[in-house]
Amino acid sequence: MKITRKDFLRLSGLSFLAAGTLEAARAVAGSDSSAQNSPGKPSAQPVRWGMVVDVQKCRKDQGCDACIGACNSAHNVPHLADPKHEVKWIWTEPFENVFPFEQSEYAQQTDAGIPIPLMCNHCASPPCVHVCPTQATWKRDDGIVMMDWHRCIGCRYCMAACPYGSRSFNWVDPRPAIAHINPDFPTRTKGVVEKCNFCEERLAQGLRPACVEACPEKALVFGNLADPNSEPRQLLRKRFAVQREPELGTGPSIYYLV
């Protein structure tokens, strides 16, 4: 059998076309089947998890750290004595450090010094995700910025990129610094970065985040920001809310009612 150059070109063109069509058909079929396969998820309704922090309610008891304690024990967050090695998922900072633009000479009295709970902002356009060289951190379809501790190489580029200081690195083995290990959630190992995961493991079971459940004042309101009728959206319609450094264009999913 002799194939001329013309035949060869024709054949290879046809086979490319065939392969392309097959791929396209598979893609179309794939998107169809995935839509059918998940009846539990309302595919028409987009999800973007978010949280509203009611600072007025939160400040009622400034010694309260129920949310922090609940998060730390749910996620095996270590308590390291050296502040340089601290690991923090949810923590508090004084108002003026969190919202420096709100701190002007004469407006500082009301909120100065009150502790503001902070966590990962689960940005719409997360700088940490943009810089991660291994996709160990990425944004899920529901807006949660996830971490894959199996893949993280510990380069800490995400920590340099995060404008909110929300990320912690395991400078040392965290296990000895965990009082009671919750066996249902992995600890981390030295050399990986971690942060708040919006309790995605609880959301998967239909539960709300641990910090939200733990708050005695119900100051943390969690819900779907994409749903106009959700609890956070109703609050945001009624009250004046701010995000942290919205001018950076990161689109934080955490709103503060001030």
């Binding site: 990425w138 899920r140 996830m146 249902d184 992995p186 600890t187 981390r188 190992t189 995605e200």
Partner: protein, 137 residues
């Protein structure tokens, strides 16, 4: 010819280093015919895949579970026999198997020093009860 002593000494050193694992005290001779004394779950007969597959390829399955559960958020695993499991090392695997008496013993036997799953993943406290030692055939 002046170098002969150095060459011989070098060769001798090489031979010593290369054969070290055979006579070193740190690697005692093993009886390779003896199978590890694995403790199998008593309360559960079926695994998520046939024994032959699990014995050879459990790590492949675990890696796939890890990828799907963590990165794609798919946590339900439909096994070959139609049973549905949670894709979780801690909850599903260690729900029946004991880390020390199963995983570690076989890994030690097979000389697998690799898996550092346990740097992060925990042994649940519940599964230790109700297990009686049973040797693998």
């Amino acid at each position: 010819m002046r170098d002969r002593i150095w060459i011989i000494a070098g060769l001798a050193l090489f031979a010593v280093v290369v054969t070290a694992p055979f006579w070193s005290e740190r690697t005692p001779a093993k009886d390779l015919t003896k199978v590890p004394n694995l403790v199998l779950p008593v309360n559960q007969k079926d695994c998520v895949a046939p024994v032959s597959y699990m014995r050879a390829s459990h790590m492949v399955l675990l890696l796939r579970w890890r990828e799907e559960a963590v990165r794609q958020g798919q946590r339900r695993y439909v096994a070959f026999d139609g049973k549905v499991y949670d894709k979780s090392l801690t909850k599903t695997c260690l729900g029946c198997h004991n880390k020390e008496q199963f995983c570690d013993r076989c890994h030690t036997y097979a000389g697998v020093s690799g898996p550092y799953c346990w740097n992060c993943h925990n042994q649940p406290q519940t599964n230790v009860a109700g297990i009686s030692p049973r040797s693998m055939p």
